[in-house]
Symmetry: C2
Subunit: 401 residues, 2 copies
């Protein structure tokens, strides 16, 4: 793997605290002259503390690794206590779990050998655990690889589709490590004071936390253009980013007026999502249904039919008072649950504003193609669906007619 | 049991429908000249239909009971089809379950023999199944009896507490049957037309549905005054009804700013809830904590302590920006989760307006005593907590000092 080991040594402590710190049940980063400390509330009354250590003596000189036997949870709690002062903290019920680690920031140079052998997760990237990205990165590596393998093994796509695995996920790991370096440096650095002009201000720290939110949540992860992410009609849904995950949003289901997050319309079942934002009219629906179906059949007919390859649903820019789900042609709603409305729920608490949030014109509409991993693959204007055909033709094998 | 059998014969049918009725996934009551029909969407794609029958021939002349062998699900579906016309409905995958029934409306004359033998649920009341009250009534009978038995068996309350079981639950069953009669008559009646001036109008039907909402949900169930429901200070929380369940409401937890329904603060664990609405100030909190604790100890000291008998928590009329949960004396918050604020969550989607909804003055506050079954037992003004002592003294045995 390529990369380096940082000098930051951290301790982790899980326990039920007895403390007068009022923020003990809130995720918080304590940045003090006595070392940094992060508070993460866990299930029940347990809290996890990440504690920065300055004790070089816990590192084994020969291997460079930390030697847990040279430390103890009591000593770790003492460090936390200094960091959290003047608040007090104790572990009257003992410590549930603890560890020490040094952050290594490395990425594998290759993720596969000839698209025949692949590595994923910790095997290809290591970084700080603090932003909770380790498991998320590994699951997403595996999911990315899994759906692509499935399409290739079924004979739906050629072997070259698998090249996009390293292309997308190695770049992501590099982004993650760049993020991690910036984050770790800020977090491990000393606070800014009159004496230490190089220190980190509270405002810098807060700003970094805020801007990294999208990346940490996975919504901000971005894949550069490839056969799987085509930017041609980005303008037709300018609030979404082709190459990023579809943003979550609450819509209202036409059949029963219940609020539904669009993410729940897109289960990870290996199919491509075809979200038909059909706009605010209904006169064009029959023609639209027919054109789209003809086009999708071309890639689905010998693969079990449209419903086996594509997850088609419709989102109308209309009110729940005006629409019956039965108004929408069956080709655009293969099930009663497949018609959504850009409207609020019956209590007015959620929903509405989806077309605006996605940057889709309410009159003109658009079709958004969502990859099996939830990333936006491409967008097509309703008046030019050929983009959809070109998108799938670029990596799917032609069906025999 | 006392009561009568109605003339209404109903059929029930569970199946996955093929239909063009746009409201098939919404609870709906179809009131037609071809008989009434109720649509209840179930899990997955299954729908339950309640179908009114006019076929007297399914009744066994000798027993008065319905004879299922004289009918069939196909015939039932035919009746539904006429009721739902001009929409079509079919059961291409067959019928999952079906039955027929005649509504009997009866209540047992006694619920117990000398507070030694008790009956609950179907053993003491029968009624129409359509408002979903059967299981709810039975669970609530049992819960009412269970917590009272527990208190008596532990020696905390005298045997006379058990008299309130029949007092409260038999009256409820009578209310339920009155509700059921009105409801069944409306539902089984013909629609109003020019020819039939005695028929039921659509508006009457809708109005009945709306006003019965509270009763059906359980929030409107009312217990008359007794040792367990004392009305003395009803005015101190005039938005609540002593003798009804505490109304659900979202508050914000001071420790982590998360929205919490007050019902989730009151698990059915046999303890009395002591909800301290301490108002919008904090200068009086120490005195209040001390007075309340002294008073509760009187009924708890030899019973495992305050936390074994009472579930104490505090609700402040203050903002999450101004309050640390540690500001509240520990006697008023035995756990970090026990301080709520009458404020909105961080997204402004839920919470706020709780004091107003409960009719509690934000400056003067009140203590609301919630029975182990969730019903409001009594209310005490902060400046006169003696009501709480009198309430518990009226049915709890005095502890030896």
């Amino acid at each position: 793997m390529e990369g380096e080991q940082t000098d930051y040594i951290w301790g982790v402590l899980d326990f039920v605290p007895d403390t007068d710190l009022p923020d003990i049940r809130i995720f918080c980063a304590v940045h003090s002259h006595n070392g940094s400390c992060m508070v993460i509330p866990r299930e029940g009354d347990t809290v996890r503390l990440y504690v920065q250590l300055s004790d070089a003596d816990v590192q084994d000189a020969a291997t460079g690794r930390v030697d847990k036997s040279k430390f103890s949870p009591e000593r770790l709690l003492d460090v936390a206590r200094r960091s959290l002062s003047p608040f007090t903290i104790a572990a009257p019920r003992g410590v549930e779990w603890w560890t020490l680690y040094i952050i290594g920031q490395r990425v594998a140079s290759k993720y596969s050998v000839q698209e025949r052998v692949f590595i994923a997760g910790d095997a290809c990237h290591t970084h700080s655990p603090k932003a909770g990205q380790g498991m998320n990165a590994s699951i997403n590596d595996s999911h990315d690889l899994a759906w692509k393998l499935t399409h290739v093994i079924r004979g739906w796509a050629g072997l070259s589709l698998l090249k996009t695995y390293e292309f997308e996920r190695r770049k992501y790991a590099q982004d993650l490590i760049a993020f991690d370096k910036r984050w770790s440096a800020l977090f491990s650095g000393k606070p800014r004071t009159d004496e230490d002009a190089d220190g980190v201000t509270h405002e810098e720290f807060l700003e970094a936390l805020k801007t990294s939110d999208q990346f940490m949540s996975g919504i901000g992860v971005y894949y550069a253009p490839s056969v799987l992410t085509r930017m041609t009609h980005q303008a037709s849904a300018h609030g979404l980013v082709i190459g990023q995950r579809l943003h979550p949003h609450i819509f209202v289901r036409a059949a029963d007026a219940r609020p539904v997050d669009i993410h729940d319309m897109l289960p990870a079942d290996g199919r491509f999502g075809v979200a038909v934002f059909a706009g605010d009219a209904d006169t064009h629906l029959a023609t639209l249904a027919h054109s789209l179906d003809t086009l999708l059949r071309r890639h689905a007919d010998q693969r079990g039919g449209v419903a086996a390859v594509f997850n088609v649903f419709t989102v109308l820019a209309r009110s729940k008072d005006d629409v019956n789900y039965t108004d929408v042609p069956e080709l655009l709603r293969p099930h009663w649950s497949k018609v959504l409305l850009d409207d609020t729920d019956m209590f007015g608490r959620s929903g509405g504003g989806g077309y605006d949030a996605y940057g889709i014109d309410r009159a003109r509409g658009a079709v958004v193609i969502v990859r099996p991993d939830g990333f936006v693959g491409t967008v097509a204007p309703l008046e030019d669906l050929s983009e959809i055909d070109e998108y799938f033709s670029s990596f799917m094998v032609e069906t025999q007619s």
